[in-house]
Each structure stands twice: as structure tokens, then as C-alpha cells.
């Protein structure tokens, strides 16, 4: 079978959604299950045209519940797997996001955020799902969520999401927004050999020695896949290292759930990424992510021109949140500004970490993202 190239090395003019699809393919994703939804549909469309050419699977499921279930199944059968959706679909997926966290199935979920709640504003951008990404499914668990602010990052961070998901056996989210997904920009795809790809740690012991949920020192268990002769069991029930249900044991529950949280919390320093701009002497720290961060950077530059010592902290990982970076930046800051396309979500994290009474949220709902001038005016008003 003649296969098309998986990695389209070169310079492109592309939309964020398509760049995300190409990032997935470059990362080694060979299974996509999804359900059409604005503004994420183009990811599915592009994957549908590309997968058959590179020997991968595209399947359109009956809903988002089925999509994520199929993704977890494909992951357990050995493929890197992804789905892409927006708010309403993200809500439907939460049940099995919990299953993926509990059974430690590596998988990537792209949420192109639009305005909510409910059906909301399908064609307009939002950042209203960032807390849902962290807390959406019931029970205690940790996930990883990345926030792209450009078409290039839609590509790069989708690869990063796969790498992190495979490393930690955890669902990883790409929390995009409608603007980043639909805008067209330059995208540079490096040669395949220059792209860092991480594959899950595989079981390499004889089957009789394999305990599917026995972690290594990094708290992550090596993974066997179906059909390799390991004959293991996995369940969404509380389970011991053998994968066997122990639904009445506080000891097993405590050990398992704490490990699911700690494998991310204890490795947070290795996972966390943030971009720091002019923070060294900043009296005003703006914390912004996704498309809003680009307007925020212009605003910060303008503030500098006007003699206000402003800086920008852009969390690239929303979860785990770049706590140390923020704490350091906030040490000498007088004012902290958090512009978000929601009524105040990540700002809670900023308040929690800085414990500052001078944290100001700038909401923007139901239209284009904040303009640089809006953020600049807000800085000027709040920083006296």
C-alpha cells in the first residue's frame, strides 16, 4: 500500500483546526473518533481526508459519548487516539474522561471552546470550559490541559498533548478557542526527525509477572495492549494493582486515587509550561491565555510605552497551572489583571495562588475576543 507522508514538512498557510489535525498525525495519532460540532468540525473533516491515506482510522460515531469511548478502546488496543469537540460535546464526554483517567488510557481530547452554557454561541469564541477541563468528571483525578494561542501552537501543542498523555497515561486536553481554530496563519512543520515524539512506556516483562496497575517510581504503570498475550483486566471500578475491583477497600481506593492525582502533581515541574514577557520588573502582571494572550501582549507593550511597568504571563499548560511562575511574578506586582472570555474562571486560580486583593478580572462574552485597547484601558484604570 502506498502511503501519503504523515508529516507534511514545510511552510504552510493553514487554519488552526487543520493544523491541530496535522499535529495529531505528526504525533502518531492513527485513530480518530468524533461527532460533528462547530467550531471543531474542520478537525474531523481534515482527519477524515488524511487518515485513509496514511493507514489510520477515522470513524464518525453516533455522539460524543461514543466518540471518547471508542478512543479509549483504540488506545487500549495500542493506537494513539484522539477526538475533537466543543462545549456541548465536551460535556457529554465527561463520563468517559473519568474512565480514561481511572483506567489510565492515554488519549487526546481537543475542545474548541465556544460561547456557553448549553448550546450557547456555536460560532463565537469562549474560554468557558477551562474549569470543566479540570473538574468536569466526578471524583478526584488530574488531567493535563494545554492552551494554544496561534495556528503554530495548534500544531505544536497537539503533539505535546500526545507526548504528555503517553508519558503519564492520562487524558490530555487541547483547550483551543473558536478564533485560534478558525484563523489562518503561517505554520511551519519541521522535518519528521526533528519532531520529538514520546510513546507510552510498554510492558516488557513476561505476562505472568505483569501487574497492569503497578506503577514505576514515576507513579506511571507500564502499559500492555490488547492482543499482546498479557491477558489483563481493566475496570472503571476502584481496582488494585492487578486491575481487580476492590470496591469496599479504603486502602485500595486511597492508594489508587492519590496516585492518579500525584502522578501529575509530583511531576508538575516537568509538565508545566508558561511564557513570560517583561515580568522581571512588572508592577502590573497580566495573566492571559489562548487568543486573549495576543491582545494582552499588545496591551502590555502599549502600557510600557506609556511608562507603566506591565508584563504578561501566558500559561501554556492551564492544568497543571504554572503556580511557581505566577507566584514569582506576583511577588512584586501591585496589580494583577486577568482578561478571559468568561465570567471569571482561571482568575480563581490566580487569586488562590497570589492571595492578592488586587486581582482584577476583565470578562468578555458573546463577541470577538478582547482588543488590545480594551485590555490597555483596563490596566490604566486599575493600576493607579
Amino acid at each position: 500500500m502506498v502511503k501519503e507522508k504523515a508529516v507534511l514538512t514545510g511552510m504552510h498557510f493553514m487554519s488552526g483546526d487543520i493544523a491541530c489535525a496535522e499535529g495529531a498525525i505528526a504525533a502518531g495519532c492513527r485513530f480518530f473518533a468524533g461527532y460533528p460540532i462547530t467550531p471543531a468540525t474542520e478537525i474531523a473533516e481534515h482527519i477524515a481526508s488524511r487518515m485513509p491515506k496514511i493507514g489510520g482510522v477515522y470513524i464518525q460515531m453516533e455522539d460524543e459519548i461514543a466518540s471518547i469511548a471508542a478512543v479509549i478502546g483504540a488506545s487500549y488496543a495500542g493506537l494513539k487516539a484522539m477526538t475533537a469537540t466543543s462545549g456541548p460535546g465536551f460535556s457529554l464526554m465527561q463520563e468517559n474522561i473519568g474512565l480514561a483517567a481511572m483506567t489510565e488510557a492515554p488519549c487526546v481530547i481537543v475542545d474548541v471552546m465556544r460561547g456557553g452554557p448549553s448550546t450557547g454561541q456555536p460560532t463565537l469564541p469562549g474560554q468557558q470550559d477551562v474549569m470543566q477541563a479540570k473538574w468536569g468528571s466526578h471524583g478526584d483525578y488530574e488531567i493535563i490541559a494545554l492552551s494554544p494561542c496561534s495556528v503554530q501552537e495548534m500544531f505544536d501543542l497537539t503533539i505535546e498533548a500526545f507526548n504528555l498523555s503517553e508519558t503519564y497515561r492520562v487524558p490530555a486536553f487541547v483547550m483551543a478557542d473558536e478564533v485560534v481554530a478558525h484563523m489562518w496563519e503561517k505554520l511551519v512543520i519541521p522535518p519528521a526527525e526533528e519532531i520529538k515524539i514520546v510513546n507510552r512506556k510498554r510492558a516488557n516483562m513476561p505476562p505472568e509477572k505483569y501487574l497492569p496497575f503497578m506503577p514505576d517510581d514515576d507513579l506511571v504503570p507500564p502499559m500492555a495492549c490488547f492482543g499482546e498475550g498479557y491477558r489483563f483486566h481493566a475496570t472503571g471500578l476502584t481496582h488494585n494493582e492487578y486491575g481487580y475491583p476492590r470496591t469496599q477497600s479504603s486502602e485500595v481506593q486511597t492508594k489508587l486515587v492519590q496516585r492518579l492525582c500525584e502522578k501529575i502533581r509530583k511531576n508538575a515541574d516537568k509538565i508545566v509550561r508558561a511564557e513570560e514577557n517583561m515580568l522581571e520588573d512588572a508592577e502590573v502582571v497580566v495573566v492571559a491565555y489562548g487568543i486573549v494572550a495576543r491582545a494582552a501582549l499588545s496591551a502590555v507593550k502599549k502600557a510600557r510605552e506609556k511608562g507603566i511597568k506591565a508584563g504578561l504571563l501566558r500559561p501554556i499548560t492551564l492544568w497543571p497551572f504554572p503556580e511557581k511562575t505566577l507566584a514569582k511574578a506576583a511577588e512584586n506586582a501591585e496589580t494583577i489583571i486577568v482578561p478571559e472570555m468568561n465570567c471569571g474562571q482561571l482568575v480563581r486560580e490566580v487569586e488562590r495562588i497570589t492571595k492578592s486583593s488586587r486581582v482584577f478580572h476583565l470578562a468578555k462574552l458573546g463577541e470577538e475576543p478582547h482588543s488590545p485597547m480594551e485590555i490597555f484601558d483596563f490596566i490604566r484604570r486599575k493600576h493607579k
Binding site: K53, G55, G73, N96
Partner: protein, 279 residues
């Protein structure tokens, strides 16, 4: 001379560490598992290439009891999960063993669409007419007038006819047996395992502890007396007419046909595309 065996000949099919099982005395699930294991043994299925997937409910524990790669999903999702497994690795034999509530209430949508696509997964449904694990509430197959904790004055909902639903949705092999028809059921599971496309067997199963005792059938024996008295074998009859009533339970094979599977069509399409791309 009598041969002494140290281990039950079928022990290799079961995870001893998971025993004892959770099923009540008289439950039909053991009969279904037994028939499944017999079918595996008679066909000498490669256990390294078999994946058993279950949802939530009493029969949902089957995945954990079979000594193969197995996964116990969230409620209603085993078919969607199995779809991902089968497409990611079509060489695996993927069998879903779950209950009527799991597969046809919360998971009903997944069932009809997997059947429509003709994904090559095999589905065995234990139909015990109620949600046994949560205490016997009525479900999508509970007979009219039956008494359950959530139909204390009698069920007023019409039940699904599962074999009719499966056939109408596009399944290529469809059968119904009761737990009384052990040999027919085993033979049927063997066929199910040998078919390529979406295959479905409904097993009418007794739940004396939770369902039977509220409905004048206190013991497994009484429930199976009903199966014995009411069962009528009508192979390849119209599944639309395959009723389950106090008087009559129509059992048999209803459908056995060939149709290209999703996996085959996908593979074909890939080959076509790669030829167009130039060879």
C-alpha cells in the same frame, strides 16, 4: 481407571483470583458464562487474541471473570469502547457481554449504530428483564404489568423486542435463546464467534432473587419452568413476531447473512485511495 485431574478443564478460561463471583444463587449468568466458555473451548479460540468487554450490571462482571484481555467500561458504553478496539486492531476477536439495561437503555444508541455500521463485534445480551444490581427496577425489556420497585403498581411501558431491533438495525447474525437452551445457546455462540459482522444473541435469563420473587416466580426453577413451558423454537421466523409473553417465548436463530463489515470496507477504501495516489 479413573483419571485424576488437579484442575477443572475449563479453569484456564476463568480468572480464579476473581472468584467467588458476585452472582446470586440461581442466577442465569453462570449458565451464559458456561456456554461462552464451552464455545471458546470447542472452537479452540486463541485466548491471546480475544477481548471481552462488559458494561455495568451483574453480567457486566463477566469481563473480569474471563481470563483474557478484558475491560469493564462505564454504564452503557461497552459497544462504543469495543468499536474502538476492533477498528484499532481488526485481528482481535471482540466480544461484548452485557445486560439488557446496559445495552438497550443507557447504551441503546450505541447498539443500533454499531449494528448499522456492521462493525465486526459480537454482542451477547443477558436479558433478565430488570436492573438486578441496583435492586430490580424496571428496564427496557421488562414485560408489561410486571412488578418492580419502580413499577410497584405494574409496568405500563412496552418492552423492546431485542431480536427485532437488532435485525432492523442491521445485525448480520441474530438469535435468542433462554438459559434452558444450553446446547442451542452454545452452538449459537460458536456461530457468533465465526461470523465476520455484527452478531447478536439475546439470552433470556432468570433473575429469581430480584425479579422473580416479585413476579410469582420465587426460585430459579420456577423461572426456568416458565421458559420451558413458554419457549417455542421458530428458527428463521420473522423476528418482528418473536414475542416474549407469559404464554410464549419465541426462540431460535432469526438471521444469518453476510454483508461487508465496516473494517472490510475501510480497508478496501484505503487500498483504492493508495492506488489512486499512484503505484
Amino acid at each position: 481407571m479413573t483419571e485424576v485431574v488437579e484442575q477443572h478443564p475449563f479453569a484456564k478460561y476463568l480468572r480464579e483470583a476473581m472468584m467467588p463471583h458476585i452472582w446470586c444463587t440461581g442466577c442465569g449468568n453462570g449458565i451464559i458464562l458456561n456456554a461462552f466458555v464451552h464455545a471458546l473451548d470447542e472452537l479452540q479460540i486463541d485466548l491471546d487474541k480475544l477481548v471481552v468487554v462488559s458494561g455495568i450490571g451483574c453480567i457486566g462482571r463477566t469481563a473480569g471473570y474471563t481470563n483474557v484481555d478484558s475491560f469493564h467500561t462505564t454504564h452503557g458504553r461497552p459497544i462504543a469502547f469495543a468499536t474502538g478496539v476492533k477498528l484499532a486492531n481488526p485481528e482481535l476477536e471482540v466480544v461484548v457481554i452485557s445486560g439488557d439495561g446496559d445495552l438497550f437503555a443507557i447504551g441503546g444508541n450505541h447498539f443500533i449504530h454499531a449494528a448499522r455500521r456492521n462493525i465486526g463485534i459480537k454482542v451477547i445480551c443477558a436479558n433478565n428483564f430488570n436492573y438486578g444490581m441496583t435492586g430490580g427496577q424496571f428496564g427496557p425489556t421488562t414485560p408489561l404489568k410486571a412488578s418492580t420497585p419502580t413499577t410497584p403498581y405494574g409496568n405500563i411501558e412496552h418492552p423492546f423486542n431485542l431480536v427485532h431491533l437488532a435485525a432492523a438495525s442491521g445485525a448480520t447474525y441474530v438469535a435468542r435463546w433462554t438459559t434452558l437452551h444450553v446446547r442451542m445457546l452454545t452452538a449459537s455462540i460458536k456461530k457468533l464467534l465465526q461470523r465476520k459482522g455484527f452478531s447478536f444473541i439475546e439470552v433470556v435469563s432468570q433473575c429469581p432473587e430480584i425479579f422473580g420473587r416479585r413476579n410469582k416466580m420465587r426460585t430459579a426453577l420456577e423461572m426456568m419452568e416458565w421458559f420451558k413451558k413458554a419457549a417455542v423454537i421458530a428458527n428463521f421466523s420473522d423476528p418482528a413476531k418473536a414475542e416474549i409473553t407469559p404464554e410464549k417465548i419465541v426462540v431460535g436463530e432469526f438471521l444469518d447473512l453476510e454483508k461487508p463489515t465496516f473494517e472490510e470496507l475501510l480497508r478496501e477504501k484505503m487500498n483504492e485511495i493508495s492506488k489512486e495516489n499512484g503505484e
